[in-house]
Amino acid sequence: MTSSSSVPVCAVLIAVTAVCGCQPAQYVDSKGSNLVVSMNQVNIQDFEAASEALVGGMVNSGVLAKAPRQPAALAISRVVNDTSRQFDTDQLMKKIRIALLQTGKVQVTQAVGFGGTVEDPMAKETYEAKRFLDGKSQTPVDLPDFTITAKILENATSAGSTKQISYIFQMSLADTASGRLVWEGEKTITKQGEKNAIGF
């Protein structure tokens, strides 16, 4: 090969090597599209997409705006992770609470909690102390107008070397005045491939 023809070939090889080279650690946008996509676990973008879809559906239904008092008091009931991976369900529920609070339609009560426990025990104790000092101990506590339950399910299958996994996020909103479920939403996120990847 002559030197004249090897020059452009080398230039192309150098350019390709530079583009395809090892990638050093870097910060990425947690809400961006260049995140790792895993075939065996729920990724942060999955929680993000599920919470946005569920909150959007709840707001679109208008059920929160029909509550007799505004903003309505909300409490989080049972949340079940029924997937093969163990993770803190607050990765989903906290996003949902943040988004719901931002709508201005609800506030999360700390007067009562699922199983008798609340997220902020000091808020509950202070609330009860103030009620006592105000002589309101005999009046009903700030009971929630709505309660939320949620469940995360997993469905995995494969064809040849291609794997497919679906995570199903289900959520129900109950009106405590009637004891009825007044809204239900479901968001399914399906991923397909042979191995984990970066970007979606």
Binding site: S4, P8, S33, G56, N60, G62
Partner: protein, 158 residues
């Protein structure tokens, strides 16, 4: 008299080299263009309703597979904006793209929330609808960003 050879003549050397460099440069430019994000903003009439949409599409390839054809708004839960945008692909093959909404209040300040990137698959000649609900009643305006995904050699996108 010496006959100029390919190796010895600067002019004969530069012709194929420049051609290759130009080709590499053109490929790099094309790949770089794949990284550009298209944006869509509503143009409002005097009554505040959407009259049309303004599209900024520096990424022509992306525009060919995700062109916004119209946009609609409604109010849900009494005071919260909901947006639906129809997106058309003129491509003859199934394509993917990513999109997200950005939300703004009356002062033009960005309102965070409900703004993550989402990936969508679009079929040939399909028109699909993307739907989003504003994160807060303070939202009065929005912008849709559309980005290419899985473009060659680089997976980094906004």
């Amino acid at each position: 008299m010496n006959t100029p050879t390919r190796n010895s003549s600067p002019q004969s050397l530069s012709a194929p080299f420049c051609g290759t460099v130009t080709l590499v440069f053109a490929i790099c430019c094309a790949l770089a263009a794949c990284n550009l994000t298209n944006t869509v903003r509503p143009i409002r009439g005097s009554d505040g309703a959407i009259a049309s949409v303004e599209q900024s599409a520096p990424n022509w390839w992306l525009d060919s597979k995700a062109t916004v054809v119209d946009a609609r708004e409604s109010i849900v839960s009494g005071d919260t904006k909901r947006v639906q945008v129809s997106i058309y692909s003129s491509q003859m093959q199934q394509q993917r793209f990513s999109y997200r909404f950005e939300w703004y209040d009356r002062s033009g300040m960005r309102v965070a929330g409900m703004d993550s990137w989402k990936s969508l698959m679009i079929l040939p000649k399909q028109t699909l609808t993307v739907d989003a609900t504003a994160p807060s009643p303070t939202v009065t305006n929005w912008m849709l960003q559309i980005s290419d995904t899985n473009y060659p050699l680089d997976s980094t996108s906004p």
